[in-house]
Structure formats: C-alpha cells, structure tokens
C-alpha cells in the first residue's frame, strides 16, 4: 500500500499562502474523513504547515486537489509531494521538531497527536503516527533539543529558575500593566510563581491587571517599601527614565532578587546588578541568551536526526515485513492443515491424542520459527518478495495467494 504526503510549509510557502491552507482541528479531521473513503488519511495543520497523509495509489492526486481547492493554483504549485519512506521520515522529523522554525519546539508533538486522533487512520497510518510520536518523545528525552528557551520572556523565566530552582512560592512584582509585561509574568506564573504585586504609572491599569491575575495593585512610588518581599521583578513600562533604581532595593543579605527588564528605554537601573544577590537582565541580555541556546538547539538537532533516522528505519522494516506476512500466514496454515489431517487419521485414546497434539504443535512451531524470522529479515533488506515467492513455490502455496 502506497503512503503519500502532500503539503505546504514555511520552507517554501509564505504566510499569505499558508493561511489559505490552514485548517482548524475539526476542519482537518473532516477533510481527512472526506479523503479517506475506504483508504486512510490524516491532515496535520499548524501555523507553519498543512500536510495531508494518505494511503492508496491514487490518493496523492486527490490530496493535492483538496489543497488546490482551498488555496488555489499558486498554493498547489509550491506544495511538496513525498511518498513511502520519504513521507514517513518527514513526519518523524516534524514530530521531533526538526522541521520547525525553532528546532525542538514543544507544541508540534501535541499537534501531531491531535491531528492523528482527529483523522481517519487505518493500520498503516496508525503505526506511522505511533512511531512518529515515539520518535518525537525520544528526541526530546534523549537530547536537550527542547529544553532551552526560544523567546525572550521564556529566557527570563528560565534564568529565574537558574537562580531559584522551582518557582512555586516565589513572589513576582510586575511593573507596567502592558501586554508584554503581563505575558512575561504569566509565563512565570505558569511555572509556579505567584504574581503578588502590580505597579503601573496609571494606578487604574495596575488595578485592572492585578484583578485579572489575583495580585495586589501598588503605586509606583511605593515600590521602595515593597521590594523586600519580592523575588522576581518584571518591568515593562513606557517610562523615559529608570523606574527601579539602586536606592530602591533594600539589602538582600544573599537573598536573590531577579529583575527582568523588557522595556526600551530600560526601566531598571543597570547599577542594581552590582548589588549583592541582585541580577538584572535587560532585553538585549535575554536575546543573547536566546541566541546562544538556539545555537545549542541546532547542535542537539544533529543527535535528534540520528534518533529520527533510527525510528524511520524501524518503520520501513515493519512496512517491508508486511510483504511477507501473507506468505508466512499461508505457510503456517498449510502446515497446520497437514498436521490436523494426519492427526485425525491416527487411532488414539483421548490422553494420547492430547499428548500427540502438544508434541506435533511444538515441532511445527520450532520448524517454522527460523523461516519466519529469516523471511522478516529478508523483507527488511528488500529481498522479502523474492523469499516470499520462493516459499510459495516450494510449498505449493500459489493458489492461496
């Protein structure tokens, strides 16, 4: 059975084209069921790609037509088409995050799983997607490709963890009630930190954000008195001058204070970094950390590629073994039929029959074990069809084909 993939991705299609092909999960599931019609189909649609995985000899053309209907001729012109091992290898790379803009990004594995669950898979695509998800998990657990932050707010949160470890129980002060600061603070909260205080040049906006995150609003002028109870500061105001200065920070006695300054112009006086146990990271510092970790991700991607290749080879071996499975089944059925026929001719007591049945079954299993293994190995090495034909000829199984 042929496996085919038709898709568009960020590699060849600009966002104007990709957005035409983009599908919600329920739409992707509906398209998969529409394309399946006695075959197998799964549609994967994310920000960076829309891909249709189908089985069957003529399915590829139908999948391409489905994309053309949604995106037009110019979309179909940039669509890529892969078959069999190349298609499987591509999905494994996608699941491992190796095809993503940021290598190893974490969301794609969940998206692959969701697409599979919403689609219309059969035996082949079931196995393909199971193996792809396993490859994705292995790539993330056996390499550090997915561990480093890929954005400035994520880098801030990761550095805070480098200082404090677990962030649960750590108190965060948000200075500025804008979207960027809120996003960064929520990132810290998602890792267990508590957004304790919100300060803003406009107290009303501070109150509004504080209400939505369960924090206490404070006046900017009161910061000096409140910093003693804080572990992490996220600053992102539009203020032209420093909002947090060296004089605002009380003596920490080794108790760390981590300050994430996302504002331009900066909100936190760099001199605060000189104080004992105070660490100030502005947007350039955080971007440098992101760049360095992305370089690390790319190095780890080489190791992840090896894992993906290994899993893709395993899938290829499994597919190849399918070629010899009918022959193995026929051989075993023929042997079993002979055994049963000869046994029925023998005049035996009940206990003797049971003993002979057991012995002959064991002999049969032992005799057929090695040929079965050898045929599967040959199938993995692409000689499976030759072996299968030889076995059919030698044992007279042609009629059972």
């Amino acid at each position: 059975m042929k496996l085919a993939l038709v898709g568009v991705s960020h590699h060849h299609a600009p966002v104007e084209l990709r957005e035409r092909a983009a599908l919600r999960l329920d739409e992707a599931g509906a398209l998969a069921r529409e394309l399946a019609d006695g075959r197998e189909a799964v549609v994967l649609s994310t920000c960076n790609r829309t891909e249709v995985y189908v089985t069957g000899d003529d399915a590829e053309a139908e999948a391409l037509e489905a994309l053309r209907v949604r995106g037009g001729d110019d979309l179909a012109a940039v669509a890529y088409r892969l078959t069999d091992h190349a298609a499987a290898l591509h999905l494994f790379r996608v699941a491992a995050g190796l095809d993503s803009l940021v290598p190893g990004e974490g969301e794609i594995l969940g998206q692959v799983r969701a697409a599979y669950e919403a689609g219309a898979p059969g035996p082949l695509l079931n196995r393909l997607f199971h193996d792809a998800i396993r490859a994705g998990k292995r790539a993330r657990s056996q390499t550090t490709i997915g561990e480093s932050p890929s954005s400035v707010p994520a880098a801030g949160a990761a550095l805070a963890q480098q200082v404090f470890g677990e962030l649960s129980g750590r108190r965060v002060l948000v200075v500025g009630a804008g979207a960027v600061g809120e996003l960064a603070a929520r990132g810290l909260a998602s890792r267990g930190a508590t957004i304790a205080l919100v300060a803003s040049r406009s107290f009303e906006r501070a109150e509004e954000l504080a209400r939505s995150v369960g924090a206490t609003p404070v006046e900017l002028d009161d910061l000096r008195g409140r910093l003693a109870e804080i572990d992490v500061v996220v600053a992102c105001t539009g203020s032209p001058g420093f909002v947090v200065t060296r004089d605002d920070v009380p003596e920490r006695r080794g108790r760390p204070l981590f300050l994430i300054d996302l504002a331009v112009p900066r909100d936190v006086d760099p001199a605060v970094n000189e104080l004992d146990a105070c660490y100030v990271y502005d947007i350039d510092d955080l971007q440098a950390v992101v760049d360095a970790t992305l370089a690390g991700r790319r190095r780890e991607a080489e190791r992840a590629e090896a894992i993906v290749d290994e899993e893709a080879d395993r899938f290829r071996a499994w597919r190849a073994s399918l070629d010899v499975v009918p022959t193995i089944a026929s051989l075993r059925a023929r042997a079993e039929a002979i055994r049963a026929a000869e046994l029925s001719k023998a005049k035996l007591t009940e206990s003797e029959r049971e003993a002979v049945e057991s012995i002959t079954t064991q002999i049969l299993n032992k005799l057929l074990h090695l040929p079965t293994i050898r045929m599967k190995e040959a199938a993995a090495a692409a000689d499976g069809v030759l072996y299968a034909d030889a076995v059919r000829h030698l044992f007279g199984l042609e009629d059972e084909r």
Binding site: T143, T144, R253, G254, A292, G296, R299
Partner: protein, 262 residues
C-alpha cells in the same frame, strides 16, 4: 591484588574527570560516561578498601597516605548521592580531578598497599580518624558546592549568554546544599576532635600544629553556621566562608600531616 583494584579505580575516576570536561563543552552523552566512571571507580576503590581492611593488622589507614585514600573514598561516596543527577554534573568537574590527584598521591605514599600495621587500637582510630575524615569529606563537597555557586553567580552577574547551555543546579540549591553539608560534617568533626582529646588526656602528649589548625577549622565552620543562622548570611559571603574553611582543611590534610601521623 591491590594493584588490580587501584588501577581500575584510578582509570575510572580519570575517565570520569575527562568526561566531565567533555560534558561541560557539549552536554549529553559524555555526562553519562562520567557518571558510570564514578560508579565503577567507586566500586573498585571500595573493593580495595575492603581488601586493605581484611589483610591489615589493625586500622589500615593510619598513615597520612592511607588516610588520604580513605578520604578520597569518602568524598566520592558522598558525591555519588548527587553525581548521578544531570543537574549536578558540573560539580563532578571540580570533584573528580581532585579525587584523581589525591588518589595518585595516596598511591605514591603507599596508602593503597595492603598489610599495614597499626600502632593504635582499632576502635580509637576508626572513631577518631573515621569521623574526622568523614567531616573533611563533607567540607570538601561543601567547598565544591560553594565554588560552583560562585562560578554560576559570576556568570549570572556578567550575563553570560551560554549559562543555560550546560545544566547546573540553581543558585539557591547550591547555597542550601553547601550549608547542609557543613551542618552534617561539623558534628562529625566535633565528635572526632572529642575522641582525640580524650585519647590525648589518657595517653599524655602535646597539642601539635595539626590539632591547632583543626580547632581553627572547627571555629570557621562553626562561625559559618552561626552567621547563617543569626546573621542571615547567604550567597556569596557564605560561599567565601565555606571556601576559607576548606583552605584550612587543605592545610590540615596536606601541609601538617607530618606533625600528627606516626
């Protein structure tokens, strides 16, 4: 037979030290090889110590070289508790080269030979030397943790962009673990000193330079815990005190051994 156990231990620790350097350059597989090196080395050294104990007449690690051998084993034993965890692999970068160097010195001094004869009773030496060495092993690891704290803290202060590339323990964990290690080691040192003083009182003798410096070491670590509990000392200042205490441990273990061991 002792040679057959010493060399595997040394080679395994050495392999671990090299692998930790590799891990620091490029995290991943090297860290696992390092951990296995530590485990295999520790097993070989444990077998060596067991052989020494079985074949000796009395306490086998009475000499300075023998006690160094035991000291390395204690350090590696305590390190093994964390060494297997990925986040603490950087600590191995500090611990394993020191262990290799000290084991070589112990070997050159005859501390890994079997059949040593003791001039003291077993019980006295086991309690006295065992407790003091266990305490020193704890102080050594506390110093390694403090050094790693200062290294990481400096990288954070300087905004080292590669800081997240190699997994390492959080600053607060390093600070806390270093303090806990000292909290465990100081009572052991106190008891070890007490046993030694009782022995000194019973047999007579003078206070030597090593005893004096051991007392000063006790005061430094006692001060560390006091400042931490009462003065709220954490972080850099606490790490520097832990390292100052370790400097005294080195003086006691290396420079003054001739004044105490018979």
């Amino acid at each position: 037979m002792a040679e057959l156990l010493f060399w595997p231990a040394l080679v395994a620790y050495g392999e671990a030290a090299f692998a930790y350097f590799g891990e620091a350059r490029r995290p991943g597989v090297a860290g696992r090889y390092a951990t296995w090196g530590v485990r295999i080395g520790w097993l070989a050294q444990t077998a060596l110590l067991a052989l020494q104990a079985a074949r000796s007449d009395g306490f086998p690690w009475e000499s300075w070289a023998g006690s160094l051998n035991l000291f390395v084993w204690l350090v590696m034993s305590v390190y093994l508790v964390w060494g297997c965890r990925a986040r603490f692999r950087l600590l191995g970068l500090a611990v394993t080269p020191v262990a290799v160097s000290l084991l070589v010195v112990a070997h050159l001094g005859g501390g890994t030979d079997v059949g040593a004869r003791s001039q003291y009773s077993n019980l006295f030496l086991v309690v006295h030397v065992g407790l003091v060495l266990a305490a020193f092993a704890g102080f050594t690891l506390a110093a390694a943790l403090a050094a790693l704290y200062l290294f990481q803290e400096r990288r954070l202060k300087r905004h080292d962009a590669s800081i997240l590339r190699v997994p390492s323990p959080p600053l607060t964990s390093l600070d806390r673990l270093s303090a806990r290690m000292i909290l465990l080691a100081l009572p052991a040192l106190t008891l070890g000193i007490a046993v030694g003083l009782i022995r000194l009182q019973e047999d007579g003798g003078n206070v030597d330079a090593l005893m004096l410096f051991t007392g000063v070491t006790w005061l430094v670590y006692g001060g560390y815990l006091g400042l931490r509990a009462r003065g709220g000392w954490r972080g850099r200042r606490a790490a520097f005190v832990a390292l100052a205490g370790f400097a005294l441990v080195i003086v006691v273990r290396v420079a003054l051994t001739g004044t105490h061991f018979g």
